[in-house]
Structures are given as structure tokens and as C-alpha cells.
Symmetry: D2
Subunit: 339 residues, 4 copies
């Protein structure tokens, strides 16, 4: 193959982001078709502007197109699993935004179809491709610090989403902390075996209306014996706080936030420096390109994708366990959750 | 009074530290007498060298001495409460190393005697006097960041104590994390209402022999609605890791470790800087002086001491709750623990 | 105008960089033509790949093309001034890589033609568009720190260029430090009135063969009374060291290097973090886009360009003065250099 | 000897600092006598308070006292050389505050007497004993980074001294930058061979009345081929700015300021951290103890002192050269200055 030809499913914010990235930065791939059930003039214009020739409202047009080698699923979460199944049956490789689904059986059904079809599947856990988080994980994975003891992730958004979104998001564990559940698996190189949740509604009382919390701390036990902790808050006004840390036998490895710039001002009052980069588009800008590059590389060179179907399933299971732990006020073992 | 005359009880490591500090750095106080049941020539020589005139094996000599205004209790933990009681009855003000006792009733008995006698009592939670931790707390206490949401403390020792000590220490929660239980109360300005513990034996299998863990994560709920987390490890080879952090409504405040020096070397491989200061003697060197200064100030000027009897009691109660949570595998509410 | 149509002159490394940036990141501009006297198949393929329709060996084809609104001069330094003159006479706006020329009269001739034609001219001093340097300058320019007192620039390359290049580069002051001469004018908001140079050959004795130095410190006096210093070295093995600093009446503002990532490893030996980004392509990646965006904005909206003809001339004059100071072993006043 | 018995000459600010340090922190030394021509009740009380038994107005009492092994010269600068001579003739070892004198011949005379008497002499260049500057120098001296290329020192005071002091101080080079002239010799391990000065009056016009500047940049050439630069300003409102840096063949080593504390606050506006420690008493607090410890060690164990007579002489010569360079507007070679 000279270039991987891709069909893009969904032209919302994340779809446009990936679409633009592929056309500009991934020399070995090109988007040849866009499908969005809400296709409108603005989307068509955007698509033409970056060289996507064909636009359709019907995703089936993508699956049926023999010129499409791979699909990029950026549609609403509820459609992910079905689109994976349809794409797999059509023999297309699949890059799918996270999460695959919020229902475990549905995820397993999708993975089974992928396995049957023998196509590649990569789930969009983009933070694995951040240069700092990756550097942390590479040190742990190298083994030079010995076994991991404690894995810590701090992840806070600069501002909460609209309450309309909270209604349908599945809650903080499935919507927000799911990235961190993936991150602790990535950092520790191990599966989670038990979770215990502490949560609170602190930033906006309306979260309670949806049986959700806006601030949560989840402790974890890993199969390799390590323990861990994740803390999340929907609203940290200083920006997107994204820090990870792994204490190992022979040392510790961690990262600092990326700042807007490296200037600082010293006065008689204090020393002032810039805030962390604002949100995920700023912080994970490069990582969004890197994850697709790796996917294209896996397709072209028949390698394993760096984020597998199982990697898509496990964070959903952990999120369900964390939610259950919060509700029942007790640690929940992962074998209580269907796998 | 021109100078507060103090009796020092105990000339072990911490007793010598405080004794030397008082003689050198606290202009308003002087140690006039040392009592240690294991008094030996070396201790007497040390005492003379810093101007302590009288040495005795019998603590009662201190309580009976009309020239002693205040005592500094640095003897073994088991004796703390009784010495507090004896000192209070003798009308002496009391600076007592932490913890007062590991038995709650005994602590309460000691506090009751202090209250009855109307003497000052300060418990040696030295970290409150560290310039960085104090700066964090002062920002929270100022209210300029609004209500606290999340309180985090990371506290790791460079190397575990001898197993002989582990046998009698009361375990990681009463011996090590007790400082952090005090710290979260200090930072949040609130009492703890629930704790949940995750622990593991990772650095040395012998901890299990004493029904102890060497690595633990404890999540907390506070009376003011905030939540928190402490992580401890007995062995972090890079030095004494002491970091605190409070996320509030309008921002976050945290501190970095103090480094051995501020030099760094940049080469074709990486940028290398110094490790954190080695252990508590290095890190909290200045804080050990500052806490006694504040005690002397409270005595001289009839102010409240900055670490009260209740501040001595609560961390012990939280430690007992944390231990119970680990054992029973469930969150423990503080009202399950006698108060 | 809907889009500024540009002719690209030169498809070497920097030409390709700008060409790719315009096609991918500057929505209001597009390259419609490439001229390179050494045009070859590889260049043509590159051009087609990013949507440049026409390729030619003859720059005159660009100047004569009525569809070209602006030119981007990325050819060899010796051709810059003549291409500016040709473009100005043809009524094209001009973005020109630095330096305009190494001969002052030639620069003045070019600027005069630009002024006569009333076209826009921007010189490619890219570092002004770096987010950290710009943040430093913005603080100084805001006036909130009062008058500048001391301006400092540290600028070191990770590795020296090939000796073939040294032969023709004009030497360290015209080739390398010229960026810093621009930077001190940008930071201080003032012209230089005197320079004094200290230099040495330290990294490779062959620099001496070309009457050049590889390490130099230049002190400066500014028209506004401030003083300054620049230090350069051709070879700093830890990467591209780019730091600026301005001490003002009420405080200081400075920046740190950008690091490859923000991870760090703490062990019993030390704390290791990543090196600075490797070289100018890595460090000033975003700045290369930002400068062209500003140029296009100036053209579209008839604003002044952020780096004027005078801004192109002055650093060359300062470089000539610095070279003279080194040779004659004395401070050189800027009015000794033709203007 | 069991303890080195010292005579303290001068009980001004620096004399009291050293006196207190010796009594509290230098177990192998004790001050047994104080001489100050302006001796008053306050000084006597201070001396008694720290255990100095004898006080006198006449320095000759110290030189004549057979119980005095060593003297610590903290009197006014003009007396240093004569006191060194008197002490040497009396066979006392000598710790002398910097500078020995501002007259080169006088310094040489003093050193000659020291050599003749075979006593130890250490000059109080305290910054060599700062843990961060020392760490930088130790890396350079270890040779692991290869030869030094560029030595940089930034040294700024938080506020200028009273104009009364400026009148008699000898000017910025002899009073303030002299520390930095010592520092560059310490860091580079090499003598200075040429200096070139740029200066300005920026913080207060009255400096000009005393033929002085308040802001200066001095470039240097070293005997080992390296070059260097020092920048000084009398008034940097954010505190005491003390940074050193050495670029070597294989890397660079530098240090950051020491901050008042390590806390930082992140808000929607910026990230705020503490200022550098305020001034030399705060920054070099530990170094003042360390230098005297090393002196006592040299005396007790017959070692070379870490800051020799030559180390006292050279910075004065460089200061005179720097002043001459400023006045004459040209680089000055060190062999123009008597040695």
C-alpha cells in the first residue's frame, strides 16, 4: 500500500481534529471519505478544504467503499461498538475514540468481531502518546528502577462540562477518570484487581442531581502487588492539571505539567510563572497526531496496535467498579465485574 | 520571667536535638536540668558541654525542682502520658514529643490533667513549622483561594527503620503516617470524619511478620466536605519525599521538596540536579527550632500553643481508624473510634 | 483578497519548512509557485505533494506572475537583497529570511526600493515569535516593571556547523549572534549605541583558520541607558540553550529553556530530567508558523509588519561593530558603522 | 590542641555573626577574647551572653594574649592588613574578612609577614562555601565535563547601601563585585588575564557623584583560555540574585537561587512562588559557618586554608583593573596592574 485510505465517521470536534491531523501530518494516510448523519454545508466545506473528496450522511457508504482501508470512529459514544462491528465485518481496520461502549457485553461483542475479522483495532487513549507521560512509562517499563510500588495520577479539568453533558456522560468515572484508569494500567504494566472510591460534590451542587460527584479519589490494587491512587476534579481554575508518578524499588519517576510558556517574573512580591496549558487540545495536541501515526504504522506494517481491544475494555470495567465502590461504600474487587 | 527554665526528659537523639537547639537558638529559654533513667557519662558530658548544670536519673527530680518552669518530654513514647500528668500536677508547662500515647484513654487522661492544672501543652508535630508546609497552610487559611476541596500529602522515608523498631512502633499508621494525619488537619483546618486504607508489603517481606505494611494509601473525608489522600512508603531511595498540596475553589497550593543544593548539570544525556534533603533531621532542622520558639512564646506571653492536646489526640484516633480500615477492608468512620 | 497567494523562492531546508507551514497552518495564504535555480525532481515532488502547482528554475517567473501577491525569500543569503529589489519593483509584498545582506549599502538599497514601492517587508527574525521570549518582551514592553536596566541573552548551539559553512558564513557575529542582536533590540525596545567583544576559539581550532571565534561575549550599551550582554557558543552538547533575561527597575523577567519533556527520575544518585529541545527546528517550530501568520495578517489588513526593514538592518550593523571590536580590541560605537 | 582559642577583632554586624557561629556551631573552637575600639555595654553584654569572657578596646591585648591561638579580623577594612601583620608577628593564625586591603602593596606586605611567620591565613570569601556554588565548582574541578569555556556570574543586591557607605566603599568593583572576581577564579580554577568593563548609573543618580556606577558588566579572559562575564546591580527588588554557571566542553553546570520556601500557588492568573532569600545573611547563613569550620580544620590539622593570601590579593587586582577599564573605556590586561 502506498497510503492508508481512511473513512472518517463523525465530523464533530474530535472528528475534525483527527481529520485535519491526518491530512496535514500523517504522510502515509489520507481521509478519502467522511460520513456524518448530521452532515451540513459547514462540514462539507471543511472536508473539501482539507482534501476529503466524498461526504455522506450514511456510514454504510464508508463500510461499503472498497477504496477505504481503515475507519476512524469519532461519532457519538453510543455508536462506537456498532460501527466497530460493521467495520470489522467489512474488513476495515479501526481507530476508535474512547470509550468503545459503556456496556461491557457490547464491548466484548465488538472485540470478538474484530478478532474474527483479523483487522487492527486501536482505542483512542491519547494520553499514552503524550511525550512526558510516555517518558515516565518508558522509565518504568525499562525495569531500571525495579518493580513499581505506587502509581499516582492527578487529573483535573479547568472547568466542568455543561450540565446537559453530565446528564448523559455516564458520570465522572466513565467520562473523565476513564483516561486515568487507562493511564495506571499503562504506567504500571499491570491489571487492576481492586478499587475503592471516595467522592464528593464540591464545585457545583447540580452534580448530585445526576447521582454524580465532581471530585473523586480512587485507590487501586494491581495484580503485580503495587498500589495506586487517582484524584480527579472537574474544576481546577488554573488549567488542565495532568501529572503522573510511579514510585519504584530504586527510585521514582514523575512529570510536571506543561506550561503555556517558560517565562517568569520576579518582583518584590513573588515570582510569577505561566499556568499549565489550558485543556486537552493544548496539552495533548501532539499526542493526537502521535497516536494516529502509530495506528497507521501498525496497519501498514502489520504490527500490534499500541492500545488494544482489551485496553479499551479494562478502563470501562474499572470505571464501573469505581462507581459501585462509591455507591456501596466499600472496596470492590475487579472479579465482581463481568469480564 | 526573664528566661523560661526547662527540664529535659530524655537524652536520646531527639532529646539531644531539642536540648542543643534550646541552648543555642532560643534566647528566651534555657535547659537547667536533664533527667534520663539511662544517664551515662556520655550524656553528662554532652549536657555540660551545652551548659546544662544538673543531670539526674530520676525524672521526679525535674518535677520537684522549683527552678523548672517547663519540661520537654523526649523520653520513650510509653512514658509520655505519665510524664505529662506528673508535670501538670507539678504546675510545669509541657512540650511533649509526639505521640502522647498510643492509647486514647491515656491521652485523654493526660489532657484532662493539663486542663485541670491550667498549664500549657504543646505536642511536637514539627512539620507544621516547616517553612514550605507552613506557606501552603497559610495560603489555605487566608481564605483567598476559597474552600479546600482536595488535600494531598506524600510522605516517604529514605530507608525503613530496623525491624527491632517495627516490632514496637505500633505500625506505619501510628509511627509514620501520624505526622501526615496531623498535617491534613493542619492544612484543611478541619477534622477527619472517615478513613479508608489500602496497604501493601513491598519493600521488605518482614513487615508482614509484624502484621504491618510498608506502603499505604489512606483516603479521607473531612468535616468541611473536603476529601483527601495520604501516601506513605518506608523506603524511597532518593531521599525524604515530603510534599503537600491543597486544591481549593479558586486555585491550588502545593510545595516541592527541598533539595540538597540548587546546582544542576546539563550534558548530552540529561539534566541532573540534587536529591531532596536526606531525612527529617536535614529537612526539618529549622522547624525543630521554630516549634520550640513558639512554645516558649506561648508560655512567656500566655498564648495558646500552636499544637494543642486535641491536636495530639486526633492523629492517634485517625491512625487507629486507618489500621482498622486496613484490617477490615472497609472505610471506617471516625465516630467508630472513641474520642 | 480571500487568500494571499505566495511565490516561494528557494526550496532548501528553510524554504521547505516555510512552504509546508503555509500550506498546512496559514489558512489565509497559499504558495502558488516555487522558484529554485537548482530545481530537481525531488523538489517538484515535494511541491506537488503540498499543493504547489507551478515550479520553475527562474525567479523572474515569480516576479512576473500577476497571481503572486507576495514572495517568501528563502534562497541563499547573497541573493536576498536583489530578490527584495526585484519583488518590490514588481509590487509584491516580501517575507525575507535573515539577513537581508551582509553589506550595509546593499541592505539600504533594498529597503529604499521597498519604501518606494510601498510594499510590506518582514525579515525572518523568528525568535521574536517564540512564546517564551515573547512573554518576556511583553512584560518589559508593558512597562509594569519600569525601565530596563540589564538585558541578557544566552544563545548556544548544540553543535557547530560544517567548516565548509564557516568559510562563507560571515563569522559568528553575522551568522549566529545576529539573532541575539535582534533579540536585545526586541527586548529592550531600544537601539544599541556601543558594543565590546570578547572572543575565543575553544571548541575547534579550525575556527581560527577562518579568522573566526566559536565562543564570544558581547557587552552592549543601549540608547535608553540600559546595558546588556550576549554570550554565544557554537557547541553546547546538552542542546540548544536559549535564555533571555531583562532586569528592570521593579523586577526581573526571564525564561527557561524548553525541555524535551517534563518527566524526571529521582534515584539514590540524583534527579534527572530531560535536556532542552535539540535545535532551532525543535525549539522554534511554532514560532516559524507564528511569524508568517503575522506577515500575512499585515498584508491582508495593511498593518505594519512586526519585523521591519530597519529591524533587518540594525543587527547587521551591530554584528559588523562586534567583529570590529574583537579585531581592534576596543569598544566600538555604533556611529562608527555606516547607517 | 583540644580547642582553637580565638580572639575576635571587631563586634560589628559581621563580627557578631562570626562570634555567635563559633560559639554555637564550631565545636573545635571558642572565642576567648573580644577587642573593639568602640567597645560599649551592648557589645560586652552580647559577648558575655555567648561565653566570651574577656573584652577590651585594645587589639594589642589580643595579640599579646598567650591563650589566643588565632584571630578573627572583622574590624573596618582599613585595619585588616595591619592587624594581619600584627597577628602574624605574634604567631597567631588569621581568619580575615575580605578584602585584606584596597592597596596592593599593603596586601603584599601583609602576606609576606604571614609567610614569614608561617601562620595560617584565610580570607573570608564566604560564597565559596555556599552549598550550591560549591556543587557547581566541584563538578568543574572534577574534570568530568572537560575544560571550562565560559564562566558566568550574576550577582545583584536587593537594595543599595546608604550613600554614606558608597562614599568610602571603594566603589562597586572593590566593594561588591570583588566577591564575584573571587568566584570566577574559584569556578574556573584559573587566573584572570584581561578585563573589560561596561557600567551605568541607573538605580540612583547619586552614584555618579562618587564617580561610581550601580550596574556593571565585566567580561574576562582567563589564563586557561576560557572567557567569562559578571553582571552586578546594586538594586534588584526581588531579592538577592546569586547565580553562577560554567559551560564546559561536555556540558554545563549552573545553579538557581535559593527560595524563601518551596510552596507555589496556581490560580486562573498564574503560578506564584516565593522570592529568592532576601540578602547575604539569609543566603550565605550556612556558608558563614562552613568557612570557619574549614579554617579551624586547617589550623588544627596543619592543612592549607581553602582561601589563601593570593586568593585575597587577586580579586583586589581584578577590581582595580575593572575600575580602570571603565574609566579608560578599553580592555585592561592584568599585567598592567602591579602584582
Amino acid at each position: 500500500m502506498t497510503k492508508i485510505r481512511m473513512g472518517l465517521l463523525g465530523a464533530g470536534r474530535i472528528g475534525k481534529l483527527h481529520g485535519t491531523n491526518v491530512q496535514n501530518f500523517i504522510p502515509d494516510a489520507e481521509i478519502v471519505m467522511l460520513a456524518d448523519p448530521f452532515l451540513n454545508d459547514e462540514m462539507v466545506e471543511w472536508a473539501k478544504g482539507i482534501g476529503i473528496e466524498k461526504c455522506t450522511k450514511d456510514p454504510e457508504d464508508v463500510f461499503a467503499n472498497p477504496d477505504v482501508d481503515a475507519v476512524m470512529i469519532c461519532s457519538s459514544t453510543a455508536t462506537h461498538a456498532d460501527f466497530i462491528i460493521r467495520a470489522a465485518r467489512a474488513g476495515k481496520h479501526i481507530f476508535c475514540e474512547k470509550p468503545i461502549h459503556t456496556d461491557i457485553d457490547k464491548i466484548k461483542e465488538a472485540i470478538a468481531e474484530v478478532d474474527k475479522a483479523g483487522v487492527k483495532l486501536q482505542v483512542g487513549f491519547v494520553r499514552r502518546f503524550d511525550r512526558s507521560h510516555k517518558a515516565v512509562r518508558d522509565v518504568v517499563a525499562s525495569g531500571k528502577l525495579g518493580n513499581p510500588y505506587v502509581v499516582k495520577v492527578c487529573s483535573r479539568d479547568p472547568a466542568g462540562p455543561p450540565m446537559e453533558y453530565i446528564k448523559v456522560s455516564g458520570g465522572i468515572f466513565l467520562d473523565m477518570m476513564i483516561h486515568d484508569f487507562d493511564m495506571v494500567r499503562y504506567l504500571s504494566g499491570s491489571d487492576v484487581v481492586e478499587v475503592s472510591t471516595t467522592g464528593a460534590v464540591l464545585t457545583d451542587p447540580r452534580y448530585a442531581d445526576y447521582d454524580d460527584v465532581d471530585t473523586a479519589i480512587v485507590t487501586l490494587k494491581f495484580a503485580n502487588g503495587a498500589i495506586g491512587v487517582i484524584d480527579n476534579c472537574r474544576q481546577a481554575p488554573y488549567g488542565y492539571d495532568q501529572r503522573v508518578e510511579v514510585l519504584c524499588e530504586k527510585g521514582s519517576v514523575q512529570d510536571n505539567n506543561h506550561l503555556e510558556n517558560e517565562a517568569y517574573v520576579s518582583t518584590a512580591e513573588n515570582v510569577e510563572s505561566a499556568k499549565p496549558t489550558y485543556f486537552f487540545l493544548e496539552r495533548y495536541n501532539d499526542a493526537f497526531v502521535a497516536e494516529v501515526k502509530d495506528f497507521i504504522d501498525a496497519v501498514m506494517n502489520d504490527k500490534e496496535t499500541p492500545v488494544s481491544g482489551k485496553d479499551g475494555l479494562e478502563p470501562v470495567r474499572i470505571a464501573i467498579a469505581a462507581k459501585k465502590s462509591l455507591k456501596e461504600g466499600r472496596p470492590v474487587k475487579m472479579d465482581e465485574i463481568p469480564s
